[in-house]
Symmetry: C2
Subunit: 355 residues, 2 copies
């Protein structure tokens, strides 16, 4: 199978066109398209245009609401609760994080909770919104249950990612963004679409036995990262994103890949911390740079060529992907062509190919 490189701008236009055909207002379509393409650019194809198929199914089936009535249902100086009314995740997600940042400007720190949300792409998309405001951003969401709790084999927890973004000075920002599973489910979904095996240790089949078959893994359960610690963090993400927000949690969450008529009711939880309230911003950034320099000057472990900071690899990939296009598999290309053909889109994925 040949490697297929895709022009990011054209991919974005395709997504916008598809969303608009399904009734999504232009500005919202742009937000979601930007979010998906940003996932691809950062090397996370699992959170990129591979999800279009599911987004389109949900819009078509009524599970995702193209014209949601998004409401703030509770609000105090340093918090808000948003009812996303089954919006596309990125539409509600960017609104909530913007409001969270505005509140943090006034009080020093703030949180935002979103209920009735849907798949929101990469968590770093939201935490990183804080960077240009000289804030530290925090983002979590829960997701439909694909993972076991430590000590169990049932699918009971989402992959529940955590992202934290910190501005630096001359250095790249620090951007932590990780699923609390050993791997993000998206990687297994892509392996399934492309018919490829997955490495040993990522997942169990439905009988609790280790498997390298992506389809079996999707029917079984992922494992948390770092044993009981990752499992505990995943539970906490579900408390913040699912319970505190008033969204669903654990095994109750709607899936992205099926039930086109049903919203997922996942929740997002955001935080913004205004650096200038705590410390002179330049001093803060200079010290972050110093920390990075010192961490990178560590004696390297056997086999390590370079010490990467959180998010550094994603910045490197983004630069390369903007230059060369991002790579998709032929399974994803076929899904996109199916969308083009079904809705008679002008944008033609087969013409994006750059290599």
């Amino acid at each position: 199978m040949a490697e297929i490189y895709v022009n990011p701008q054209k991919a974005k236009e395709f997504c916008i066109e598809a969303f608009e055909v399904l009734g999504v207002p232009k500005q919202d379509a742009e937000t979601v398209a930007t979010n998906l393409v940003e996932g691809e650019l950062r090397g996370l194809g699992s959170h990129g245009v591979s999800r279009m198929k599911f987004y389109i199914n949900k819009l078509e089936g009524g599970g995702f609401n193209p014209k949601p009535d998004i409401k703030i249902i509770r609000e105090r100086p340093s918090m808000l609760v948003m009812d996303a009314d089954n919006a596309l995740g990125a539409v509600a997600g960017t609104k909530a994080m913007s409001m969270c940042i505005e509140k943090a400007k006034k009080t020093g720190s703030a949180c935002a909770a979103v209920r009735k949300g849907n798949h929101f792409g990469i968590a770093a998309f939201y935490s990183m919104m804080a960077l240009e405001h000289n804030m530290i951003g925090f983002a979590t969401c829960n997701s439909n249950s694909l993972m076991a709790v430590y000590g169990g084999t049932s699918r009971i927890l989402g992959t529940n990612p955590i992202s934290i973004a910190v501005p630096a000075g001359k250095r790249l920002p620090l951007v932590f963004d990780a699923a609390t599973s050993l791997v993000a489910s998206g990687k297994i979904i892509v392996a399934d679409i492309e018919g490829k095996p997955i490495p040993e240790g990522w997942a169990m089949d439905k009988d609790g036995k280790s498997t390298t078959n992506a389809k079996e893994a999707l029917e079984g359960a992922l494992l948390p990262f770092g044993g009981y610690k990752g499992s505990g963090l995943s539970i906490m993400v579900d408390v913040f994103s699912g319970i505190l927000t008033g969204a669903l949690f654990g095994l109750h969450i709607g899936e992205l890949r099926g039930s086109p008529e049903k919203g997922q009711d996942v929740g997002f939880f955001y935080g913004a911390v205004d650096i200038d309230s705590f410390e002179d911003v330049n001093t803060f950034k200079t010290r972050v740079d110093q920390m990075i320099d010192e961490l990178k000057a560590s004696k390297k472990a056997e086999g390590a060529e370079r010490i990467y900071m959180p998010g550094e690899l994603e910045f490197i990939k983004k630069e390369a992907n903007l230059r060369n296009g991002f790579k998709i598999g032929s399974g994803v290309l076929k899904d996109l062509m199916d969308i083009k053909n079904k809705y008679g889109l002008k944008s033609n994925p087969e013409e994006w190919l750059e290599v």
Copy 2:
């Protein structure tokens, strides 16, 4: 070596007497003693009376300030920065968390940062302060560098713990409290005091090779939990606790075990989230109970007899330790007897023994 069980109340009285002899006001002495004994009760001997030796050395040498002038140096509706003036960690730590909780009552959520702090015991001591206020509590601190960054072998990061406490209804609260190292350094310190080996995989020696010798491990480096994810979280804890607070970070932090004349200048970062602002408290607690019930009903993995929630094991241990006394090693007992003899304390550790 016989197992030595100790009466918690008597151990607390000993700590209070020792602190008072070294100039600590009674109320502060009680706070720190409660903190250390709470560590023991929760089964974390690594964060208990084994630390008395180092606390006393620091108080005697001037590194810890028995009568600190604790000041709030920056404040907004949802944040504060405290200069702890080299206070005993638990003295400044409890004050800062109390203020953080009061702010969260008024705005819905708040953060507190502490600089010029010292070793503060178990992080859950602070996150759990939020529980009786129907809040979610969050606590981190940094610590002197004992751990390698992912890909490195140099000692460059602290064990930088994270604690999150969530109130439940009929169930026990969820209390996550974990070092971002594979194990807390205190466990290796206790192994060193007791002359015992440590398991393979916990640490590297100073040449970056795996070791089971506690002394070599303390000269070498611990490993982060969960590979690059735990390493990234540890970096983030250092950003919040060390850089944002204006304390020291990474390799600059003073050690607890040496330099009696020097404070550590570690930082603490706290958060409090007022549940009632987001969601009816009873609904929240009922849903947390439901989540716990569902997680515990998971099909169990081979070898797992029970599925534990974050902090559950510590509650079980506390109940047993309150009933039977907590266990210390003969090395720790000797350290405590040395303190008794040096300062002519009335309280006699050898008389605490219950078994």
